[in-house]
Amino acid sequence: MSAAETRRKGGNRKAVALIAAAAAHVSLALSLSAAWAGPGDDLSQARRIVAIGGSVTEIVYALKAGDRLVARDSTSTYPPEAQALPDAGYIRALNAEGVLAVTPDAILALEGSGPPEALDVLKQAGIPLAMVPESFTAEGILAKIDRVGAALGLSDAAAGLSAAVRSDLAAAMAEAAARETKPRVLFVLSLAGGRVLASGTDTAADGIIRMAGAINAVEAFSGYKQLTDEAIAGLKPDVILMMDRGGDHGAGADELFAHPALALTPAAASRRLVRMDGLYLLGFGPRTAAAVRDLAVALRQPGSTAQ
C-alpha cells in the first residue's frame, strides 16, 4: 500500500477527466496489485461484502459470515437467507453501478465473474476484490473454502469447515466407489427444440458423476454440446441426469423418454431419470458431499427420482 500512499499525495490534480481517470487507474492498480496476488488480499475488516457465485455465497454462510453480505449474484440461491439479499445480476453480466449502489466495502467473486469492464470499474472505485478459483474436483472445493476463509480473515473457521468437508467428501466418494454397479450417466443440460444438449468432460456435471462412482456416458468431447440422435443410442446411458428447474429443464420423464433418440436407450427401458437442484448438484461447495451421496443413491434406484 505504501507505494500507492505516496502516489496519492499528489493531491488534487487539475487535468481532463480522461487523464485523471488514467492516473486514478494507475494508482489504484498499484494499490490493488496485492488484491490479485491472491491470499494476500485482506477482506477481514469488510462488513458489506458482495458475494458473486453460488458456491462462494454458500461458503460464506457456512463460515457463519452471512451477516457480512449485502448483495449476491443470481446464481446464489442457497441458503434461503441469501435469496433475501439484493440480486446484482448474472455472474457473467454484472452491473458495475448496481454493485456500487449497495455501497459494498469488498467483493468476493468466483473465477469467471464478469464482464471484465465491470470488474475494472469496481477496482477503480477502490473496492477490494478477492477472486476465488473454480475447479470441479474435491480438492477444488477445499481450495475455495481456504480462499474464502483467508480473504474474510476466518482462517480458523475455514480450516475447521475444510477438514469436515474433506472427510465428508472422502467418505461419500468411498461409499459411492464401493457400490457394485457403475451406471452410465447422460447429463442433459437442455432439450430445447428437441435437441439434446449434453455434458462431455471438464464440466461440473462430469465431475459430480465421477465423484458419485458412475461413468459419464459422453467421453468424446469436453464441455456442453448437442448430440446427434443416432449417437445417443450408441452411448447406452443407464440413467439420464438433469437439473431441476423451470423451462425445458423441468421436462418430465414422459416427455423425456418420448424423445425418439432417448427412447432407444437403456435409461428409457427402465424409465430412469434423476433430477436435482442445479446449484446443489453442480455448485461444488459445502453441500457437495451430500449431493454425491444423494446422486450415488438416486443413480442406482429404479424409476425416476427428483431431489
Binding site: 490534480r13 487535468a15 439484493p86 458495475a96 453501478e97 470499474v121 477502490g126 464441455g223
Partner: protein, 363 residues
C-alpha cells in the same frame, strides 16, 4: 394500438413539409439533450449529487472521501461513457437503417438484412471462441479490443464481398446485393453454428450474452476506438441525402437528375458497413432501432432524406439512451440486456408495419 393510419401516398418531395420538419428536428435536438441529462442523473446508485458533478466537470478525483470518489467514478466512468455510447450506437443504427432503406427503396431494409450485421457478429464470435487458441496472436496484438476489431473487420469484409458480387460491368445491382446478402447472412449463421459447436462453456455464455446486445461494456477506451468511426459516418451522412432522394424515382431517373448514382451507392454502402461494424463491435446485436426509427420519422416529417437522416440520428440516440437507462435501473442492482428491450418494443412494431404495409410506400 391502432391509431388512424397515415395516408402516405407516393408524392414528390414537397416544400411545405420543410418548416414542420425543421420544428420536429429542433424538438428532437432538445429532447436528446434532456434525455442525456436525465440518463446521466439517474442510475442504480440514485440521483447524482451536485458535488460529484462539479468534480467530474473539473476533472478532479477527490482523495480521501471514499463515498464521494465513488460517486465521481460512477458519473465519469460508468454513466457518462454509457450515455455517450448509447447515443452514438442508437444514432448509428438508425442512420444506417435509413440509408439502407433509401438505397434499396424498401422500408424494411436494414444492415441486418444484407448480412453486414451477421458478418460483424461472426467476426466477434470467432474472436470470443477462438481468441485463446487459433486466433491467440490477434488477442495478443489487440488485447481487450480484439473482439471489436474482429467485428469491424467482419462487417467490412462482408460488405466488400457483397459489393463484388453485386457489381457487374461497373454498375451495382441492388437486387443482386440483397439476395447475396441473404445468402451471406445464412453462411455467417452456419459458421456461427460451427463456432457454437467448438465453443467451451465460458465462450458459449459470452456468446449468448453478446448476442442480446448491451451498452454495459461502455468504457472511454471503446468510445475512443469506435466513436470516431461512427461520428464520421454520422457527419458525412447528410451528403447522401440528395442522392437518396433522387433514388426514390429509380436509378435511371436519378442519373438523369445529375446524380452520380454509382459513386453515391458505393459511398452509402461503405458508410453503413463502417457504422454497423463499429456498432456491433462495441454493443453486440441490438435489433430493430434501424427499422423503427426511420419509419416513425417518415410518418411525422415525410420521406425527405435531408431531414430524415439527421432526424434518425437524433431519435435513434434518444431511444437508445432511454432504453439503456431503463435497462440499468429497472432491475437494479442487476441489469437487463438492452437488446431485449429494443426487440420487445421493436418486434411488435415491425409486425405492425408488415400488417399495414398495403398502401405504404417510401414516397
Amino acid at each position: 394500438m391502432s391509431g388512424p393510419r397515415a395516408t402516405a401516398r407516393a408524392r414528390p418531395i414537397e416544400g411545405d413539409r420543410a418548416p414542420r420538419a425543421r420544428i420536429v428536428l429542433g424538438c428532437l435536438a432538445l429532447a436528446l439533450v434532456a434525455t442525456a441529462l436525465a440518463a446521466l442523473m439517474t442510475g442504480a446508485t440514485g440521483l447524482a449529487n451536485p458535488e460529484a458533478i462539479r468534480l467530474m466537470l473539473a476533472g478532479e478525483r477527490p482523495q480521501g472521501d471514499l463515498l464521494l470518489m465513488r460517486d465521481v467514478i460512477v458519473l465519469a466512468d460508468i454513466r457518462l461513457p454509457r450515455v455517450i455510447m448509447a447515443g452514438l450506437i442508437g444514432a448509428s443504427l438508425a442512420v444506417s437503417g435509413a440509408v439502407m432503406q433509401g438505397l434499396f427503396r424498401n422500408p424494411l431494409a436494414d444492415p441486418g438484412i444484407v448480412g453486414v450485421s451477421s458478418g460483424a457478429g461472426l467476426g466477434a464470435a470467432a474472436m470470443i471462441v477462438l481468441g485463446g487458441g487459433l486466433l491467440a496472436p490477434v488477442t495478443a496484438l489487440f488485447g481487450g479490443h480484439a473482439v471489436s476489431f474482429a467485428a469491424f473487420l467482419g462487417g467490412l469484409a462482408t460488405t466488400a464481398l457483397l459489393y463484388r458480387i453485386g457489381t457487374r460491368g461497373g454498375s451495382t445491382h441492388i437486387a443482386t446485393m440483397l439476395l447475396a446478402g441473404i445468402a451471406l447472412g445464412a453462411l455467417a449463421g452456419a459458421a456461427l453454428g460451427l463456432l457454437v459447436f467448438v465453443a467451451d462453456d465460458r465462450a458459449l455464455r459470452d456468446l449468448s450474452f453478446w448476442g442480446l446486445g448491451s451498452v454495459a461494456g461502455a468504457t472511454w477506451d471503446k468510445i475512443l476506438t469506435a466513436g470516431p468511426v461512427i461520428a464520421l459516418v454520422l457527419l458525412l451522412s447528410p451528403l447522401l441525402a440528395r442522392a437518396l432522394n433522387a433514388l426514390v424515382l429509380g436509378e435511371a431517373a436519378a442519373g438523369h437528375l445529375g446524380v452520380n448514382v454509382q459513386r453515391q451507392k458505393r459511398l452509402a454502402i461503405v458508410a453503413v458497413a463502417a457504422a454497423t461494424g463499429a456498432s456491433v463491435a462495441v454493443s453486440g446485436g441490438i435489433g430493430f432501432v434501424g427499422i423503427v426509427v426511420p419509419h416513425l420519422l417518415r410518418l411525422t416529417i415525410g420521406p425527405d432524406h435531408r431531414y430524415l437522416l439527421p432526424g434518425s440520428a437524433l431519435l435513434g440516440a434518444i431511444l437508445l439512451i432511454a432504453a439503456d437507462t431503463v435497462a440499468r435501473t429497472l432491475v437494479a442492482p442487476a441489469e437487463l440486456p438492452i437488446g431485449i428491450l429494443t426487440a420487445l418494443a421493436g418486434a411488435p412494431f415491425f409486425l405492425w408495419i408488415l400488417l399495414t404495409r398495403r398502401g405504404f410506400s417510401l414516397g
